[in-house]
């Protein structure tokens, strides 16, 4: 069987002090070509994920977890190596990335559904169910700026779980809403796992993914430190020597 996701020798670097620069910097850059300091976010990362697997990415801040998810989702292009995916990818990297505060809940649901890859017909079909799952019927016609942040998250998560991808990529968004909503989200993700879909999730709090992942990959400074059964990798991670 084809792997759901396969990464081969993925490296990704950033230049230090990129972004906005004055003309002076651009001109200086011309003369000092090739001497820009590189910073590796990912260094020669290879692994494969089989269909139906649940993989947790763990590691400290800046270990490269989010960059890795962006590469898998096809958002960031790697500087070396290649990545393949078989099936529809649903990337939930930031809840409500396409939301606009001046639009109403209804308008945002439609826009977000389109962004996440739902068709017009499919959106119309699941619209009721999206609003229902979010549980904010009273506010659905109000502009988003009147929502509490918890309500925005609930709506965003609700749209996202309705896109039904084959490979679900989640970046630390499992901890949304109040306790009752979290229980609902977890149930939805478990249902998704049972349907044989693949899951790749990032978590600082390793315990948060214990019930949906059976494998963990520990990243440090952009490299894979350990890859194996969840319990074993988490134990090694938590018993790690204090960072210098």
């Amino acid at each position: 069987m084809n792997p759901a996701v396969e990464l081969h020798g993925i490296s990704k670097y950033f230049y230090r002090h990129t972004g906005r620069a004055l003309l002076r910097k651009h001109v200086e850059g011309l003369f000092r070509h090739g001497r820009k300091e590189r910073f590796y976010a990912l260094k020669d990362v290879s692994f494969r994920v089989e269909p139906g697997e649940g993989v947790a990415l763990i590691g400290t801040n800046g270990a490269g977890k989010s960059t890795l998810l962006s590469v898998i989702a096809g958002l960031a292009e790697p500087d070396a190596g290649w990545v393949t995916a078989s099936g529809r990818i649903g990337a939930l990297l930031q809840l409500g990335a396409g939301f606009h505060t001046d639009l109403t809940g209804v308008e945002n649901v439609w826009l977000n559904a389109a962004l996440l890859g739902l068709s017009h017909r499919r959106t119309a079909e699941v619209f009721e169910s999206i609003v229902d799952f979010a549980g904010i019927e009273d506010f659905i016609d109000e502009p988003l700026r009147t929502y509490s942040s918890g309500m925005v998250m609930r709506l965003a998560f609700s749209v996202a779980v309705h896109m039904d991808p084959d490979i679900f990529i989640i970046d630390e968004v499992l901890a949304v809403g109040d306790h009752a909503f979290q229980v609902k989200c977890r149930a939805k993700i478990q249902e998704f796992k049972r349907a044989g879909k693949t899951l790749i999730a990032v978590s600082h709090a390793a315990a948060g993914v214990a019930d949906v992942c059976e494998r963990a990959i520990w990243l440090e400074h952009g490299s894979v430190v350990r890859d194996g059964a969840l319990a074993e990798v988490v134990a090694a991670y938590e018993g790690r020597p204090a960072a210098p």
Binding site: G19, E77, H100
Partner: protein
């Protein structure tokens, strides 16, 4: 820790890289609708601003050139000015909005794996809705000037279609450059001011000295204005060379814009 390999594996021929599997027409429409709604959502006059802006400008120019500089021998000055203002307004607004669209939608570009070309294109098309509204205003002015519909009106969709394609090309090019060089926006605002004077909006092409005419004809916005006046006010078809040049320059700019975008989008993620 495993030893970090300093030699990355050379990039092999990429098999099926991850893709976005959505419906582009639906997404494009949603984005266009978003940009259009958001623009005037919190204004008490709402979408009427789309009509008011050119009306104010037309009023000022009409007053100046019929009461202050009274040498303009044009009885239909209001319609004459609008023939220039409507395409120019669209051009300048769509160009600036398109240019800043990628940077303004950075969260979307960084988090949703959708073909990025759609963002500047949607920005231009949402301003296209304003063009449609202003075209209605232009038609009213033309009728008030006592001009009727003639068969050359069939050229109008062609002319304005060329303009939309032309601006889409510019937006693709400038929005991708703007990711790396954020000054683009101000450069374009200044260029728009220059163009306002270099396009025959409130003067007629016939007063342009012969030695500058070639230069004017190279400017697609000027060509648009001339073609529009020929059709709407003079009731004659635009000259064939002008129509051909218009199509050629629009297509060329679009292709160049698309190629620039393709070449630059690789590192959007790192710079946004």
């Amino acid at each position: 820790m495993t030893a970090p390999a300093s030699q990355p594996v050379p990039s092999a021929a990429k098999p099926t890289a991850p893709k976005w599997h959505g419906q582009y027409s639906f997404l494009l429409w949603q984005l266009v609708a978003k940009d259009f709604k958001v623009r005037y959502r919190n204004m008490s006059l709402g979408v009427f601003w789309s009509l008011l802006n050119p009306l104010v400008m037309m009023g000022v120019l009409w007053f100046l050139f019929t009461h202050i500089f009274t040498n303009a021998h044009n009885p239909n000055f209001a319609a004459f000015v609008l023939c220039g203002l409507v395409p120019f307004n669209f051009f300048s607004l769509a160009w600036t909005t398109g240019t800043t669209s990628l940077v303004e939608n950075a969260p979307l570009i960084k988090r949703v794996p959708v073909a990025r070309e759609i963002v500047p294109l949607a920005a231009v098309l949402s301003i296209g809705i304003h063009l449609l509204i202003q075209i209605c205003l232009l038609f009213v002015a033309v009728f008030l000037a006592g001009k009727g519909v003639n068969r050359y009106w069939l050229w109008l969709p062609y002319v304005w279609g060329c303009e939309v394609v032309f601006v889409c090309g510019l937006a693709l090019m400038c929005s991708s450059l703007n990711v790396y060089i954020r000054d683009m926006r101000y450069a374009i605002e200044s260029l728009s001011v220059v163009l306002f004077w270099m396009v025959p909006i409130f003067y007629s092409f016939s007063i342009v000295p012969a030695r500058y005419r070639e230069l004017y004809q190279l400017n697609p916005v000027a060509a648009l204005v001339l073609a529009g006046r020929n059709i709407l006010l003079d009731g004659i078809p635009p000259p064939a060379p002008l129509l051909i040049k218009l199509l050629a320059s629009s297509t060329l700019v679009f292709v160049a814009g698309f190629a620039t975008f393709r070449a630059l989008r690789r590192r959007f993620y790192d710079y946004l």
